[in-house]
């Protein structure tokens, strides 16, 4: 092994070869995830700074289910340890949803306990869309919304209808997220 390197001192490093900042495996993976995305009509992404692939927003406008008619914004922040670490995702609006808290925290298994490096940004986006189509009343984060959904689907539907137009439910005011 010794023979492989600098016992022969004549070949001094790679002289003059100016080194560039290295791209991390995580960054390349994000590039790959994005480049291979095939977004449905209901989703739209925005990049506040297009040169930064690690921070962006996703808008979902469900065309069916309780939340049809609204446009829901989520922020994505991907850290340097991706895909070992899951992307960190938040809902940017205050919405009435059993699995989303008023401050934007989301209870979605693949964002925490079930995240695996084989999952992609696309898996997370699909997961979010599913959450809007099929809110899960059995694993609540907003307990009141979950109780409403479980006990009276009709009432829940009306509450969603009201809340996404900026109305109040159970004394709490929600953001108007109606699609423009």
């Amino acid at each position: 092994m010794i023979k492989i390197w600098s016992m022969k001192k004549e070949s001094l490093a790679t002289a003059g070869d100016k080194k560039k900042p290295k791209v991390s495996a995580g960054q390349i993976r994000v590039q790959k995830d994005l480049n291979e995305l095939d977004l449905p009509k209901t989703m739209k992404m925005t990049f506040p700074a297009p040169e930064d692939l690690l921070n962006f927003e996703l808008e979902i406008s469900p065309d069916e289910g309780f939340y049809a008619g609204g446009t829901f914004k989520f922020s994505f922040a991907v850290n340097g340890n991706y895909p070992h670490d899951a992307p960190s995702v938040k809902c940017l609006q205050k919405i009435y949803h059993p699995n989303i808290q008023a401050d934007g925290k989301i209870c979605l298994n693949i964002l925490r306990e079930d995240w695996k490096p084989v999952l992609t940004l696309n898996s997370v986006m699909v997961g979010l869309q599913y959450l809007l189509l099929e809110p899960n009343a059995d694993d609540p984060l907003n307990k009141e919304a979950a109780d409403d959904l479980r006990n009276n689907r009709r009432a829940f539907e009306q509450n969603v209808h009201k809340s996404i137009r900026g109305g109040s439910v159970n004394g709490v005011a929600y953001d108007n997220v109606i699609s423009k």
């Binding site: 010794i2 070949s11 490093a13 080194k19 340890n81 699995n99």
Partner: protein
Amino acid sequence: MVDTQTITDHERWAGVYKLLDRTSRIHPEFEPQEEIKEFIKTCKILVIGAGGLGCEILKNLALSGFGDIHVIDMDTIDVSNLNRQFLFRRADVGKPKAVTAAAFVNKRVQGVTVTPHYCKIQDKDEDFYQEFALIICGLDSIEARRWINATLVGMRDEDNPDTLKPLIDGGTEGFKGQARVILPGITSCYECSMDMLSKPTGFPLCTIANTPRLPEHCIEWASVLEWSNKHGDRKMDTDDPKDIQWLYETALARAKQYNIQGVTYSLTQGVVKNIIPAIAATNAIVAASCCNEALKIATTCAKNLDNYMMYSGNDSVYTYTFEHQRKDDCPVCSNSSTKLDFRGDKTLEEFMDYLKEKPDIQLKRPGFAVGGKPLYLQAPKQLEEALRPNLVKPLKELFSSGDEVTITDSTLPFSLQAVVTLT
């Protein structure tokens, strides 16, 4: 005062020199030669991390006869380090680990020079890493390991043997640990084995919020959900006992409310800081194994580990030595790399068409980036539109000659790193 002139290398390093002066029948390739002794005295070795493993590694290298050792660490000494990081004393708490460790070894072992670098590994560039004959890592951070691994794999140029930097990596957890030798681009790399890592436990948010059952659920409730409610944007400082105390009290109150036993200050600290148990004994074993490999690689006096040794001491003493296989689609070391010449006044679109046609590459829908910044991606639509103007720009306006372009495509196992010389 001892006259140091009376010290002879031959007597001082008698054990090591027997290995270096004598032939071996189990390893007949080895040829004793005086240059080898000179080489270990003068070659530069880099130690990454001056913690539990790092202290051991520095000691071991100095006592193996390595004369020019560098150590890099961004941390300062904490009181909880003292049960294993034997180069530090109570009076050193708060001082930089790299500086303190280097000074100690320099004083204890005459003739060795340990040079400290009190900074992050990411603060150093490839020119820095290029100076070393080999690198030994004693880190507890996955992220830092991935970084140095990718850097060393990226530095390797098959046409230039000097760019091959053996990376010896050690890690411990309680009574368990591992040592491995990575020859970048030749053996499996750190990234190839990412799936061997145990998953970090996170609990479902809804469990934390509504159905806590374990003391850990109460602690996570305090740190993940309740902290931001009570402290707004102030970031939690897990090194500040006041913040831990708050989390502990908050978690304890919740546990009481739900009749859950077992929330303690120590558990709170363990959960929020993700503390891994650590003892001197295991660090000694893993670090010694790493340095044994370093000595073997540097001197060729015996075959080096190929390439992974697992250690477990919970039940008896058990090691398992095996060759970890490279991963065909490893994001780091399976990256094909290529060198291309292309005219700088041609556009990105022309470059892309060229790559789609080129028989040995044949891309379908490639995306391009340089230094993490995108030049052109096929998707998502909004990004594609924002980047589309780049397609008609000449390459020389998009990057400089000799830059490495990261190309991803569904046809590639992971990515293609193309060093493009603009002509």
